[in-house]
Amino acid sequence: MKIVMAIIKPFKLEEVRDGLTAIGVHGLTVTEVKGYGRQKGHTEIYRGAEYAVSFLPKIKIEVAVSDELVGKVIEAITAAARTGQIGDGKIFVSSIEKAVRIRTGETDGDAL
């Protein structure tokens, strides 16, 4: 099994979720994060104090999937999250050794 972690633009979440559902992935976990990268931030001014804010709001998605599905998941996320502008985000894939569904105790493939 693999866990696919994707950092995307916040307003793309619904589309990505729909894209994943379309290929049969029905579970995922979402975290609000802040990203730093090439995309430039903005300046905030509060009276005399100016701050260059370089961390931008992003959404992190984590999806655990079987090895076979990884390619399709990457494709689905890429397709849904792409705007073509800097800051669209990244996808990182790593292995997981074990998965458990807490409710039933099912493991691995059955747990997803």
Partner: protein, 448 residues
């Protein structure tokens, strides 16, 4: 300037008017049978009422609207409301008061003149007439009270197109709209020589001038600028109903200044306007609550709050004219009708009147205006007016509504078009996505 007192006594509690008694007497000392001196109870009441209406604008309206917006636009909404209020303060004393409350010569059916520009001739001794013969209040407090009305009305409009209009466009629009739509409407309704005043349409505290007027302008604006990006697809839920709650509560609290203060005196009629502002509002809140509970299955707080506003809007023209039981009914009708309008009809028509300015202020204002003609009937507990006949009165109310819709509709359309040409109405899609707080104001509302 003087008021047609014969008319006024027949229409007690109907409309505003100011005379600068101090100045009049300074010029013509012959006819002075001792200048009327303000009663300090009345003066205090009007000072208080003015303060209350300011509290409606800020923080009241700013929080009500801001809470309903997304957090990335919170500051922009509050900025728009606040800058509008500040701008109207200045415009009002420079020429607005004069355009609304002086004689306009040959144009006086529709608009006043410039004789009191820069408050020329007004001093601490100047007074304004109330609706009771011989009872006056300091003119400065009358100017301030009316100023707060001029502050809140354009601020109300903003709700129709929050989260996407340029700050500069709003500033320019407010300047133009107050000049060409608001001051003339105020003159027509509240000044003794104005068209709707002389017609005899009833409007105790400004249903036509404030609510229908703002509702129509918001509708025109949201139709012209178009929907928000993602409207109907993305979650656009209120970012803080707590803020909307505070705003609504302060609007209710302040509305007693608006409605009962419009009596200009601290009398039993002010107390009647107060009790109606309680019972109509409660009726509308419960009306929306129970209809929503029935139709949607759950009674929401936002529903109750929307009902509160719908009730307050509807009772505005009627406040000192109807009875407390009539007010419950009027409020309940407004709550239920506005519910259907905001939840069904708007969706069916498919435009994005973002904070339902038309759906509540426009629709509620029309219900209130027509309803005033009905519930003023002594048979229905109202105080009555001279020579009252329900049909005739409702007709006058209807004419006033139509005049407001037409004047404001056409005027707003033209003015929005001008603003669009001059500075452009809408921010870029990127700015809209990022939120106006950062894009237009360089700040964020919250840093948790």
């Amino acid at each position: 300037m003087t008021l047609k007192t014969s008319l006024r006594s027949g229409l007690a509690g109907l409309a505003f008017a100011a005379t600068s008694a101090g100045i009049a007497f300074a010029q013509a000392t012959t006819e002075t049978p001792a200048a009327a001196v303000p009663n300090k109870g009345d003066t205090t009441w009007m000072l208080l009422s003015t303060i209350l209406v300011l509290m409606m604008v800020m923080p009241g309206l700013a929080l009500f609207y801001g809470g309903l917006s997304r957090s990335k636009n919170m500051l922009s909404v509050m900025s728009q409301v606040t800058a509008t209020a500040a701008l109207m303060c200045i415009i009002w004393v420079v020429y607005g008061y004069s355009l609304a409350f002086t004689s306009g010569g040959s144009m006086t059916s529709f608009v006043g003149g410039f004789s009191k520009s820069f408050l020329a001739g007004v001093g601490v001794e100047s007074t304004a007439d109330t609706f009771t013969k011989g009872v006056v209040i300091p003119e400065y407090v009358f100017i301030c009270f009316q100023m707060t009305f001029a502050m809140i009305t354009p601020a109300l409009i903003i709700g129709g197109f929050v989260e996407r209009m340029k700050f500069s466009a709003i500033m320019l629009f407010v300047l133009l709209w107050s000049t060409f739509v608001y001051f003339p409407m105020a003159h027509m309704v509240w000044f003794s020589e104005g068209y709707l005043f002389t017609l005899g349409a009833l409007d105790f505290a400004g249903g036509t001038v404030v609510h229908i007027n703002a509702g129509i302008a918001a509708l025109v604006g949201c139709l012209l600028i178009g929907k928000r990006i993602g409207y109907g697809k993305e979650l656009m839920s209120p970012h803080s109903l707590t803020m909307t709650y505070i705003g609504t509560a302060l609007l209710w609290v302040g509305w007693f200044g608006f409605n009962a203060g419009s009596n200009l005196e601290a009398t039993g009629t002010a107390a009647l306007a107060m009790i109606n502002t309680f019972t109509a509002t409660a009726g509308a809140a419960l009306g929306w609550l129970f209809i929503e509970w029935t139709v949607k299955g759950k009674p929401s707080l936002l529903g109750m709050l929307s009902g509160i506003i719908a009730g307050l809007v509807a009772v505005t023209p009627a406040a000192g004219l109807i009875g407390p039981m009539g007010a419950i009914v009027l409020g309940a009708i407004s709550g239920v009708v506005c519910f259907f309008f905001c939840t069904s009809i708007k969706n069916a028509l498919g435009y994005d009147d973002s904070l339902d300015v038309f759906g509540i202020h426009g629709v509620g204002g029309i219900i209130g205006s027509i309803g005033t003609g009905i519930f003023v009937a002594p048979a229905l507990g109202g105080v009555g007016v001279a020579d009252y006949a329900m049909g005739a009165q409702v007709w006058k109310q209807f004419v006033a509504v139509v005049v407001a819709i037409v004047w404001c509709g056409i005027g707003s359309l033209i003015l929005f078009k001008i603003v669009d040409v001059v500075v452009g109405l809408r921010v870029s899609p990127d700015a809209e996505r990022e939120g106006l707080d950062i894009a237009e104001h360089g700040e964020r509302a919250y840093h948790p």
